[in-house]
C-alpha cells in the first residue's frame, strides 16, 4: 500500500459551551474524540455516521476553519510532495498560502450556499484558478475544469441561483480541483441530491482519486456506498464523536465487526429497514465509557470502548474484529 498523504492521529475537537465555559468548568461539545485515520493517494476513505455524530467537524478542523473558540488537539501530518506540515499546528500563514486549495482542498457541504451569490460562477472559478496557479490561461483552465466535472463551459456564465443542485455540486468540485490538490476533503457532497446525482457525484470523486488524489468522503449515506461497490476503498464508521470501526470497505460491509456498523446496515433497505432503537447521545452529554453500549446495553460484550483492537487492516473499538469477547 502506498504511503499516506495525510495521517490523522488522535484528533479531538471540543467546543466550550455556555457561560461555564468562560470560567473553565468543563461543559463542552465533544465533536470529535481520538480520531485516527490515514488518507492515501488514489484511495477514497468514506467516513460514515448518523447526523450529529461529529463527522462534519473533521473537515473544517483539518483546514483550521473552525470558530476561534474550538479546542483542537492531536496531529494531522500532511506528507505529500512539498514540506511535511502538521495541519493542526502550522502557522495560519502557511495554511493560507501553501495548504488550502493547493495541497488540501475542501468540497463544502451545501454547494448552493458555498458560492458567492452576486458573481457569476466563471468569475469565481477563474479567480480561484488565477490565485492558486498563477500564469496559466484562466479562461481555458476554467473551461477544462468545467468539462472535467461534467459541466458545459457555457454553464459557468450563470449566477449561482441559476444552477440546479447537481450543477452547483459540480461547480464546487471544480473549484476544489482548481489548485491541483493532493488531498480532497468532501464534506457531505451528496446531501440533498437525488439518487442518480448521488451516484454521479460519488463516481466523480472516484475519478478524482484515480487521478492520484487522496479523498476523504464524509457522508451519512451508507446506502449509496453499498449500492455501488468499488467506489470507495476504505470505510470508517463514527459514533458519538469516536471512530468505532475502520477497514477496507468491502470487508466491513460484508462482515461488520462492530455492533453499531451492523445496526447501520440493518437500517438500510437491503438490510431489512430495521430502525436503530433509541437515539444518538447529545455531544454535550456523552456517557462515560462506551456510548454505543450505553444506548444498547444488550448489544453484546464490550470492553468499555477505550481501546482500539487492530487486526490486519481492520480495527474496532469495544472488541476485536471477529474475535471473541474480551
Amino acid at each position: 500500500m502506498t504511503a499516506p498523504a495525510l495521517t490523522v492521529s488522535d484528533l479531538s475537537v471540543r467546543f466550550p459551551t455556555g457561560q461555564r465555559a468562560s470560567r473553565g468548568a468543563g461543559s463542552a461539545v465533544h465533536a470529535a474524540t481520538d480520531v485516527s485515520f490515514a488518507l492515501r493517494p488514489g484511495r477514497v476513505l468514506a467516513l460514515v455516521g448518523e447526523s450529529g455524530c461529529g463527522k462534519s467537524v473533521l473537515a473544517a478542523a483539518l483546514l483550521r476553519l473552525l470558530p476561534a473558540d474550538a479546542v483542537v488537539t492531536g496531529r494531522a501530518l500532511l506528507s505529500t510532495d512539498g514540506p511535511a506540515v502538521d495541519l493542526l499546528t502550522a502557522p495560519g500563514r502557511v495554511l493560507r498560502r501553501t495548504v488550502r486549495g493547493r495541497r488540501v482542498a475542501l468540497v463544502p457541504q451545501s454547494a448552493a450556499t458555498a458560492l458567492t451569490p452576486v458573481r457569476t460562477v466563471r468569475a469565481q472559478l477563474e479567480e480561484t484558478v488565477g490565485e492558486l496557479t498563477p500564469g496559466v490561461d484562466r479562461r481555458q483552465r476554467a473551461d477544462e475544469l468545467a468539462i472535467r466535472v461534467g459541466l458545459a463551459p457555457a454553464d459557468l456564465d450563470r449566477h449561482p441561483h441559476e444552477l440546479s443542485g447537481g450543477m452547483a455540486q459540480r461547480v464546487v468540485t471544480a473549484l476544489a480541483l482548481a489548485g491541483d490538490p493532493e488531498v480532497v476533503l468532501a464534506d457531505e457532497p451528496t446531501a440533498g441530491l437525488d439518487r442518480p446525482l448521488v451516484d454521479r457525484t460519488l463516481r466523480l470523486l472516484r475519478e478524482v482519486a484515480d487521478a492520484g488524489c487522496a479523498v476523504l468522503l464524509i457522508t451519512h449515506d451508507l446506502g449509496a456506498l453499498q449500492r455501488s461497490p468499488g467506489l470507495v476503498d476504505d470505510l470508517a464508521v463514527m459514533y458519538a464523536s469516536r471512530l468505532v470501526e475502520t477497514g477496507p470497505a468491502g470487508a466491513v460491509l460484508a462482515a461488520p465487526a462492530h455492533d453499531y456498523t451492523r445496526a447501520l446496515l440493518g437500517a438500510l433497505p437491503a438490510g431489512g429497514l430495521v430502525p436503530i432503537p433509541g437515539s444518538p447521545p447529545a455531544l454535550t452529554d456523552l456517557p462515560p465509557g462506551c456510548a454505543w453500549h450505553a444506548r444498547r446495553p444488550d448489544s453484546g460484550p464490550c470492553d468499555g470502548g477505550g481501546t482500539v483492537h487492530v487486526d490486519g487492516l481492520r480495527a474496532t473499538r469495544c472488541r476485536p474484529p471477529g474475535g471473541a469477547p474480551c
Binding site: G101, P108, T116, E162, A178, L193, A267
Partner: protein, 348 residues
C-alpha cells in the same frame, strides 16, 4: 432513527432556464421604477398642497410676507388691491391650483427675500448645494467603506474599537454642533481654514478659493452622515464574513484580501445601497444646517432664509424640490439594488 433512507429533499437536475441576460435585469429595474414613480407623484401633490393648506391656517397674513415692512404703512385700499392681484383672498385650493398651473408652465413666482424670480434663485444656488452634498456624500461613502471594511475585517482590533466608539459618539452629536465645533477648532482656534462663505471677502470666485472654503463644510456634512454609513458597512460585512460562501472561499486558499473584498463585501454592499437611499432625508437636513452655519450660498440655506422671512413662493418650491429629490434618490437606490443583485431580477 435510520441512517439513510429519510427521503432527502429532491433537487431537480434538469438545467434551469438559460442564464438571464442583463437585459432582463434592466427590464425588472424599469418595472420597479415605473411602479415607484406612480407613488412619487401623489406624494408630491399632497405635500405641496399640504403646505398651502397649512399656510392658510397660519395666523400670518400672506400680504405681510409679500409687503414686508411696507405692510404697516400701506393703506387698506392698497392692501386690498395687492391682495386682489396676488389672489390671496381666495380659498387655498384655488391658490394651490394656480401655483400648480404656474409650475407646469415654468412660472415659479418671485422670491421676496432674494428679490429675484424663484427660478433664478434655484439656478444660482442649486449648483453650490450639489457641489457640497456631492463632495460630502462621496467623502462619507468612501470613508465608510474603507474604515468599515477595515473594522470588520480586523474585528476587535484597536482600529475597530476606536472607529466604532467614535461613530457611536458622533451619532449623538447634531450636525450643527459638529459644525460649530469644527468652526471653533479649525477656523477660529487653529486658523487653518476660513470660517464661512464661498470665497474670502472681496476675493474673486476661483477654484482655489471655493476649494478652500469647501473643505470644512464638506467634512462636517460628511462627518454627520458617516456613523450610520460606517456602522452599517461594518455590520453587514461582519454578517457576510460568517456566510458559507465566505468560509468556502477561504477554504479554497484565496488570499484574505480576495475573500473580504471580492466575496464578503459584494454581498454586504447590497443593503448599503438601500441605506444610502434611506439616509437621503438626513443628508438634506444636514445640508440645511451646514449651509446655514457656514453661510454656504446653496439651496438649503435658502430654505432657512425663506422660512425666517416667510418667503412663501420660494418655500413652497423648495419643499417640493427637496421632497422630489429624496423620493427620486430612494427610487434610484432601489433600482440600483435590482441591477446589482442578480437574484432579485430573477424573481421578476
Amino acid at each position: 432513527m435510520t441512517l439513510t433512507e429519510l427521503p432527502a429533499p429532491r433537487v431537480d437536475d434538469a438545467a434551469p432556464a438559460a442564464p438571464r441576460p442583463p437585459r432582463v435585469r434592466w427590464r425588472a429595474a424599469g418595472r420597479l421604477a415605473r411602479r415607484r414613480l406612480l407613488f412619487v407623484v401623489p406624494v408630491l401633490v399632497v405635500v405641496s398642497g399640504g403646505v398651502f393648506a397649512v399656510a392658510d391656517a397660519s395666523p400670518f397674513d400672506p400680504l405681510a410676507g409679500y409687503l414686508g415692512d411696507r405692510y404697516l404703512t400701506a393703506s387698506e385700499q392698497a392692501q386690498a388691491r395687492i391682495a386682489d392681484e396676488l389672489g390671496t383672498g381666495r380659498p387655498w385650493w384655488q391658490q394651490y391650483g394656480d401655483w400648480l398651473g404656474g409650475l407646469l408652465t415654468g412660472d415659479l413666482g418671485v422670491s421676496r427675500s432674494f428679490g429675484q424670480p424663484v427660478a433664478q434663485v434655484l439656478a444660482e444656488r442649486l449648483p453650490w448645494t450639489l457641489l457640497l452634498t456631492g463632495v460630502s456624500l462621496g467623502l462619507a461613502v468612501l470613508t465608510a467603506l474603507l474604515l468599515g471594511t477595515w473594522s470588520a475585517a480586523r474585528r476587535g482590533g484597536w482600529v475597530d474599537r476606536v472607529v466604532t466608539s467614535t461613530c457611536l459618539l458622533l451619532q449623538a452629536v447634531p450636525p450643527f454642533v459638529i459644525a460649530l465645533g469644527a468652526v471653533a477648532l479649525f477656523a477660529l482656534g487653529l486658523a487653518w481654514l476660513p470660517v464661512a462663505g464661498l470665497t474670502d471677502a472681496g476675493a474673486e470666485l476661483t477654484v482655489g478659493q471655493v476649494a478652500r472654503h469647501l473643505v470644512l463644510p464638506a467634512a462636517v456634512l460628511a462627518a454627520s452622515q458617516l456613523p450610520w454609513l460606517l456602522l452599517n458597512v461594518r455590520q453587514s460585512l461582519l454578517a457576510a464574513l460568517a456566510d458559507d460562501a465566505v468560509l468556502a472561499a477561504r477554504a479554497r486558499g484565496l488570499a484574505e484580501s480576495t475573500v473580504v473584498l471580492r466575496h464578503a463585501l459584494p454581498t454586504a454592499l447590497l443593503p448599503f445601497v438601500t441605506l444610502l437611499g434611506a439616509r437621503l432625508p438626513e443628508l438634506v437636513v444636514g445640508a440645511v444646517l451646514v449651509e446655514e452655519v457656514f453661510s454656504w450660498p446653496g439651496l438649503a440655506q435658502a430654505v432657512v432664509t425663506s422660512a425666517v422671512e416667510l418667503d412663501f413662493p420660494l418655500l413652497a418650491v423648495l419643499t417640493l424640490l427637496t421632497t422630489a429629490a429624496v423620493l427620486l434618490g430612494s427610487l434610484l437606490a432601489d433600482v440600483a439594488y435590482v441591477l446589482l443583485d442578480p437574484r432579485v431580477a430573477a424573481d421578476g
